[in-house]
């Protein structure tokens, strides 16, 4: 699964006529050892280390860790906010991909380039921007507060930050599918008298759905772990705006590594599962497409 940027062509073309034995010479084995050593040391070992530490604590202890009120609250909040975010992003992202592929309008290529902006901008800068725009010092912020709407240090701010940092995911997964799609079916449907909305639901949506779900899954996984922007926007108020990564950070800051372990494992396992699910889905999409 490729997370952020996918190259626009795929396919393999390893020559089958060459036997593996011929190719796997000694330098190849050296390369393999270096490559696997690198990924083992940098990724596998840290994950094994945290899993072993968690295992050492015992499941019962971890569970107690997780069901502590503030830990449980932070997890619930994280999943809820991420859910609200993906629903909004799945819709708006698909709409964005649609206008970028099907419409022609001035400044289109500029907008297309700007889609990736949230991936390029550091998350802490994103957080700062949102605080400046909607915070208590700004005119928008004061206006909203006087009308009873709190954005910064409240849940809408978290959703906004998550929407910002994950905006490109759905757009970038749906775009290539829309581009490749044959328009014959749509035209046939229109010719047969189907309404535009119906054509979209019955003809277009089924074929782009795997892509939408893939993008949404990537966005969800990213949102579960998001820290920089959320810590700026939501602050660190336990039982109110404290999301799971911020909770973990708080525990680490107060030298309570054991307290952070349970929530960390929940996040880690969730990202594993999402990764697995996305892989399965991509295979499903590929089989469907062929």
């Amino acid at each position: 699964m490729v997370f952020t940027f996918k190259t626009r062509w795929g396919g393999t073309s390893v020559n089958p006529s060459i036997s593996k034995r011929q190719r796997a010479g000694r330098p190849d084995l050296v390369n393999r050892c270096i490559g696997l050593g690198y990924i083992g040391l940098m990724v596998a070992l840290p994950i094994l280390a945290i899993s072993a530490r968690a295992g050492g604590e015992g499941l019962g202890h971890l569970w107690q860790n997780v069901v502590q009120p503030d830990a449980l609250f932070s997890l619930r909040l994280t999943f809820l906010m991420a859910l609200v975010m993906i629903i909004l992003n799945a819709i708006t992202g698909t709409a964005m991909a649609w206008i970028l592929i099907r419409y022609h309008f001035p400044g289109q290529s500029l907008i297309n380039a700007l889609i990736d902006l949230p991936f390029a901008i550091p998350t802490i800068v994103t957080g700062l921007m949102l605080v400046v725009l909607y915070g208590p010092q700004s005119s928008i912020g004061t206006f909203l507060t006087s009308h009873g709407v709190e954005v910064i240090y409240a849940k809408p701010g978290i959703v906004l930050a998550l929407l910002f940092v994950t905006f490109p995911f759905v757009v970038r997964t749906v775009q290539p599918v829309l581009m490749e799609m044959d328009r014959d079916m749509e035209e046939a449907a229109v010719t047969l008298g189907a309404k535009r909305w119906r054509v979209f639901l019955r003809v277009v949506l089924p074929s782009i759905l795997p892509a939408v779900l893939t993008g949404a899954g990537q966005a969800f996984s990213r949102a579960l772990g998001e820290f920089g922007s959320v810590v700026m926007v939501a602050g660190n108020i336990p039982m109110k705006t404290q999301v799971a990564p911020v909770f973990i950070y708080g525990e680490l800051e107060s030298y309570n590594a054991r307290g952070a372990l349970g929530v960390s494992m929940v996040l880690l396992v969730s990202s594993f599962l999402i990764l697995l699910l996305l892989n399965l889905m991509q295979n499903w999409g590929r089989r469907d497409g062929v």
Binding site: R8, R23, A24, V43, G225, Y249
Partner: protein, 301 residues
Amino acid sequence: MAFEKSLAEELDTESHRPGAGQRLEFLKRNGVWGKRLFLSAVLAWFSFLVLFPVVEMILGAFRNGFVPFLTALQTPAARHAFWLTFWISVISVLVNTFFGLILALVLAQQDFRGKALVNGLVDLPLAVSPVVAGFMFIILFGKNGWLGHWFEQGGIQIVFAVPGMILATIFVSLPFVVREVVPVLKECGLEQEEAARTLGASRWHTFWRVTLPSIRWGLAYGITLTTARSLGEFGAVLVLSGSIIGSTQTATLHVHQEFNDFHFQGAFSASLVLAVVSFSLLIIMELLKKKQWMIGQGLRE
């Protein structure tokens, strides 16, 4: 307007097709205004979500004028933070390019058991929360960690110091080079390399003259992504920094610190510099993507 023109063109070409009469009528009925409304709504959402905050930050950075903007960047803390970010990014890019390239070659050209697992491991850093990533390195290199007590015996401090921050940055930016280079390598195939080898070129020579030129745009794209991610990493680095001002603050940590201390000018200035650098990287990425895409088209034909 280009929009209207394109619609007119569409109507024109459509009219030659069978069944076009009905489609034309349909488009006329609720076409243009519906399309326009939809377009405006999507663009408005995008402006509200992404463009508006960016513009506001630029204005915020220059609110007090140009001079305060610059002086805020010249404080020792700010300078130090940017230098540290620079060096950490350079190291992270070098390590991830070198090893990432080797791993990409292995994944694209060799078959071995557990390859799917390795593929999954490459993607993991993108899915793991940066805070959890930092925490994993604390466990591994901390006092009672598997590797931590070796380093402790050698008197080297990893956690809550610069080496830990470098490790965390390498971790979070690890996937990009591998992920960008593998598909290009697969697309190129092995024929050319084999031809070169058959004609007597050495392995190194083949890599340098055949493999590298064919993957250069993909590699450059991967390096750009690695750089952008390294510059902007916050969570993992924060956890591993121990926050000793001056000695362990990167640019992103500096923004955070300044903001928490109510030094808004400092936070804005540093943010704007980071944003401008990231934006330039984005433009480079776009250009590289086009190059890569064009080559991909060439290969297809």
